[in-house]
């Protein structure tokens, strides 16, 4: 079976920096699940997901010296608030970056862990075919598109999300082998988060209230408890599958819903603050884009040395998916087969 590596990541953050004055009075003093980051980015009204992906991808393509026609056979996208309700943006992405992929998958599930989920799907596709490489694209744009609304921005959770785009490139290679991916679907939690409007309309129906994202109130304690538990579980499962111990993890990268989950996950995995890199205070909850963006930020801060064990992990929505991956960073000498 071909070994597949996580070759590199790159990101794009919208220019619009939003401070806490934009939200309800006292937003900066909130604690717990609604701890506000100092800043976050919001997309412009006319800033499309495809455009964000293009910007991040061009950096990645340049950094890795990719030939987009030759090296990108697979494009995956996951976008929090799609540019269009019916179509995904993968086709437009391919056109913008000059690629002619055999497969384009606009993946709508697994939100905050979709980067890992896409890693696994791309890995399976590349081990089963002669595909040369996969571009994985995550866009979080709900902060500007949903939480900047004049009414919604006054809600407790509005200061937490931030927008950004992270992309990654996978290829059959021994450079930074993906040692394992663990993932679970917890269908019983699928109904605990919903997009809703206060006037009770469906999101596609016209009405006076803006749409927002809500967790069912009566399940909040259960969601917190499961969030605390399921992420360390899936990271342990990935480590077991990789034949590694959690204490061998040199760098843990997760999604970043709030500082409480971040603290609890690294405590449960007995990792130091330094071994768990996040950008929450700058960028807020980046949803699915958090993992590639945080990984690029960690690399820029020299958090990984050749041969180090990198673990990625997290959960989506109210816990409907968990996923984790273990990668031996820069284990090999060069791109073996790309």
């Amino acid at each position: 079976m071909r070994t597949v590596s996580l070759i590199g990541v790159a990101s794009y953050l919208p220019e619009n920096v939003v401070t806490n004055e934009f939200f309800a009075p006292g937003a900066a003093d909130r604690r717990g699940m609604f701890t506000a980051p100092t800043t976050r980015r919001h997309v412009r009204r006319d800033e499309s997901a495809a455009e964000m992906i293009e910007r991040a991808s061009r950096r990645l393509i340049a950094n890795l010296g990719l030939d987009t026609l030759r090296d990108i056979d697979i494009i995956f996208t996951n976008v929090t608030v799609p540019d269009q309700p019916f179509t995904g943006c993968g086709a437009e992405v391919a056109h913008r970056i000059g690629a002619r992929p055999r497969w384009v998958v606009d993946l709508h599930n697994s939100g905050c862990v979709s980067f890992i989920y896409m890693m696994e799907l791309a890995r399976v596709m590349m081990t089963a075919t002669d595909a040369r490489g996969a571009l994985l694209c995550n866009v979080q744009n709900a902060a500007g598109r949903v939480f900047s609304n004049a009414e919604v921005r006054l809600k407790s959770q509005a200061p937490v999300p931030g927008d950004g785009c992270g992309v990654g490139y996978l290829a059959p290679s021994n450079v930074s082998p993906i040692l394992s991916v663990a993932q679970q679907c917890h269908g019983e939690y699928a109904g605990d988060m919903s997009v809703s409007a206060e006037d009770g309309r469906r999101y596609w129906e016209p009405g006076p209230s803006p749409i927002s994202v809500a967790f069912s109130d009566e399940r909040v304690a259960s969601i917190i408890s499961r969030g605390n538990r399921i992420v360390p579980e899936v990271v342990r499962a990935a480590c077991d599958a990789a034949g590694a111990r959690t204490r061998d993890i040199k760098l843990l990268i997760t999604n970043q819903p709030n500082p409480i989950f971040l603290r609890n996950w690294r405590e449960a995995l007995e990792l130091s603050r330094e071994a768990h890199h996040d950008t929450f205070d700058r960028y807020g909850n980046l949803f699915g884009a958090a993992i590639p963006i945080n990984l690029e930020d960690a690399l820029a801060h020299d958090k990984l040395q050749p041969g180090d064990l990198l673990a990625l992990g997290g959960f989506s929505h109210a816990g409907d998916y968990t996923a984790a991956a273990v990668v031996r960073w820069r284990a090999g000498a060069g791109l073996a087969s790309t």
Partner: protein, 214 residues
């Protein structure tokens, strides 16, 4: 209807009551306080409370525990108990060669049995195991008893107050084992549960089953 007199609480800092903390503020606080895992020392560092359900009626659990001689059966190493000149105070050996003094203080109505013990001397019984027996029907809607056992970290655990009474120079002081008390107490509570459940299930006399020794 009765309500709390606000004057009675005036000037007491740090209270968390719904009049000052709305549900949102409470939510923030309890979320921060809730971790996935807790360091052992944070949980068991100053107080060690363990509990178990025992499938044996509360009055039988009480009668068994109220006899200090039951220690001969369920404790790991308290042996050879005999009376002293002080009424209700027994002396035996712990860990083979350390004198241990012990008496129980129990209240049938409250279903509490406290073990007051000390190594080496019987004048100041400072190792106190507080046990409360609760009818499981009341709290778990099932037969049997819930036993809650608390040990508080008396300062003597950290420093032997009577080192001159020690006859074995290399002996480790009992308090050296405090970090392992959760495990040690749990093993002994499991002994207690096993003994009581076995005798109750088999219809035997609850004991303690004793005989005279030379």
């Amino acid at each position: 209807m009765r309500i709390a007199d606000p004057a009675g609480l005036a000037g007491i800092p740090g209270l968390v009551r719904c009049e000052e903390f709305n549900r949102e503020a409470l939510g923030e606080r309890i979320t921060e306080m809730t971790h996935t895992v807790y360091p052992h020392d944070q949980v068991y560092g100053q107080f060690c409370t363990i509990q178990a359900h025992i499938d044996c009626p509360p009055d039988e659990v009480f009668a068994y525990m109220a006899s200090p001689y039951s220690l001969l059966e369920w404790s790991y190493s308290v042996r050879d108990l005999r009376p002293t000149d002080t009424p209700e105070l027994l002396v035996g050996v712990d860990a083979a060669d350390t004198p241990i003094y012990c008496r129980t203080a129990s209240c049938r109505e409250a279903l509490t049995v406290d073990y007051h013990c000390a190594w080496d001397q019987g004048d100041e019984l400072w190792m106190v195991y507080l046990n409360r027996i609760v009818p499981a029907q009341t709290v778990l809607k099932r037969p049997g008893s819930v036993v809650i056992w608390t040990n508080c970290r008396h300062p003597y655990y950290d420093r032997n107050p009577f080192p001159s009474l020690n006859r074995v120079p290399k002996r480790a002081w009992v308090g050296e084992w405090w970090p392992l008390f959760y495990a040690g107490h749990s093993i002994e509570l499991a002994n207690l549960k096993a003994i009581l459940e076995h005798r109750h299930r088999a219809g035997l006399a609850m004991g303690p089953h004793l005989r005279d020794a030379p």
